[in-house]
Subunit: 186 residues, 4 copies
DNA sequence: CATGAATGAGGCTTCATTCAT
DNA sequence: CATGAATGAAGCCTCATTCAT
């Protein structure tokens, strides 16, 4: 049996299930059973399933951005970094069989108004947006407003690439978006 | 009480709930109660909840495309039509309080492998994609391959606009996508 | 499509299902669907599922006894006829894959106190019993009481043979019972 | 209210209903209502209705054989023991108003291929058969084959006695079978 | 801190029957 | 005489959560 402590086991099992199987589709029972944990032990650590989802999303946020940053770190210019983001998407989504974005997915068919969860989604998406703005603002040829506008266009491209590739179960949408991105940055 | 016949009442109530409340979040009991219909009456007309969802999506497909086509019909050129699609998105999504695309949403957190539902989603998305390709192929300056590639870029823009506006609960992503689209068509 | 009239089609389909699939396990819907008949057409001819079962049992009674009598008819003496009954059981039960006696089966797990059905079962079993008594009474060496007592012993053997062969899905119990019978008649 | 723990209460209520009312005729709702237990409590202890039936049959097997063995224990010879079995049947079946054998009954009209249940029935019947064989093998005058053959004849008598008495709601079939048995053992 | 029994509400589906056409 | 829509009751099962130990 895994020797990680209880809380950690719960988080890891739940994260996997929430992402690959869906939040609504994953029951508490499956989580505790696969984590080899007693039910009340789970409720000791997490007030509710919703709270567990929040932790899942916080972790995912950190890991996912970390992976992205590592991936694009070798690139010299900010433009190259942005364009490489799409290569990262391909790498990632092929590996997870085009399961799509955990944040998009959990927000799509959410039990009514689960604010805590929605807040994490917004946080994640806004941080990415802000980071893209930042990258562009470092470009000497753009003023602040121009940088933000261009960044928003790229944000839409990224999200569109993810959702379309998920539905099509194919990476062409990502390559398509990348092509657009390149033109925008030209 | 609404005097539509039972089957129609079921479809309309279910469609509303599936779209605004979510597929997983909507139970048979709520549907029959709001439609003022007996449970077995529902199962007379629909073999399962999944089958009801299929009918919902088929209806939605027809209505949604119909609305879109009506909206852009006055536009003279194909380029203008494509650009007007984004105006349509704004109109539509503001009216439904940025609830997003029924097809995207239902595909995001679906009980495992509900093929019949996923098939409807793919059908819908592919039809839109094909239509965009068609519009562009009528342009004398593009060969077939160029038209399809450009079309795919616009597809990603449209879907990205929808999902980002849903998460942001705001129409800026649509305007952003439209700006990108205009540049692509220039 | 079968050109038998509606009522006949219903009876034949229901009989097959009631026997091989079980009374409780067979729903009205399956019957009408396999008989290609409308639901209310069925209720035109039969007041209830229970009534349909009664007709099924009446038919079965006639057919089954008819088959038995044909089978043993060539035998010369009454003793030989009785002993041949067990050969008939083997023939019959092997053909129906040891599904057992339709009357025993329907009476075993019957919706509470369905008198009309139970009456048919009793009728069937009593007729067989009376017939066996009659055969034995024609024997010059037995008085009436002796004949009836011996007959009852054979009745038990017959029923035991059927139920045990059904549970064991094998014909050894019938051969066993026959051996006992032969000894009783010696 | 009964102070037995929940699981025990469920088993006892279910056993009573399964036996006297029939397996198919007994719903989960009736069981939990009469056991004063929540539905999910039942499913905590038993994976399904079928599993509950298996436990019911296992209990019944132990209790029933125990009762039989106690009943015949005073008898000196094995032959006397076997003959006393029929007295036991009378005692038992009169007390339960000729409800018959729980194993026979549940196997008669079973939802298609419920293997786990059928397995318990076979187990029970085979154990009785083996025990009868054993008793007879201790008889110095029979070789192994003869003992088994004779035992099988008695098995059929026992089962026949039960099913006929159930249908006739009378104990004459048991007395009849006993008479036959005595002759076989003579 | 960990356990698993117990819960009420609700999940989807099927039952035998009746009714309007 | 035939149809299929409509029904209320009941079917088996699972949910997220709490509580006594």
């Amino acid at each position: 049996m895994n020797k990680l402590d209880v809380k950690e086991r719960i988080i890891q099992v739940a994260s996997d299930l929430f992402y690959f199987q869906g939040y609504s589709q994953t029951g508490i029972n499956q989580i505790i059973s696969e984590a080899h944990v007693a039910k009340a032990s789970m409720y000791q650590h997490f007030k509710s399933k919703e709270d567990l989802a929040v932790v899942y999303l916080q972790r995912r946020h950190t890991l996912w951005l970390g992976n992205l940053f590592s991936y694009i770190e070798p690139k010299k210019t900010n433009n190259e970094k942005l364009i490489a983001c799409f290569d990262y998407l391909i790498d990632w989504l092929e590996e997870v069989n085009f399961r799509g974005c955990g944040f998009q997915n959990i927000s799509c068919d959410l039990p009514q108004e689960q604010h805590k969860i929605m807040d994490q989604v917004t946080l994640h998406k806004n941080e990415i947006r802000k980071w893209i703005h930042t990258l562009l603002k470092e470009d000497r040829n753009l003023n602040e407003k121009q940088a933000e506008d261009l960044g928003d266009e790229i944000v839409v491209l990224l999200e569109g690439a993810i959702i379309v590739s998920q539905i099509q179960k194919n990476s062409w949408p990502i390559k398509s978006a990348q092509k657009t991105c390149i033109r925008l940055l030209a």
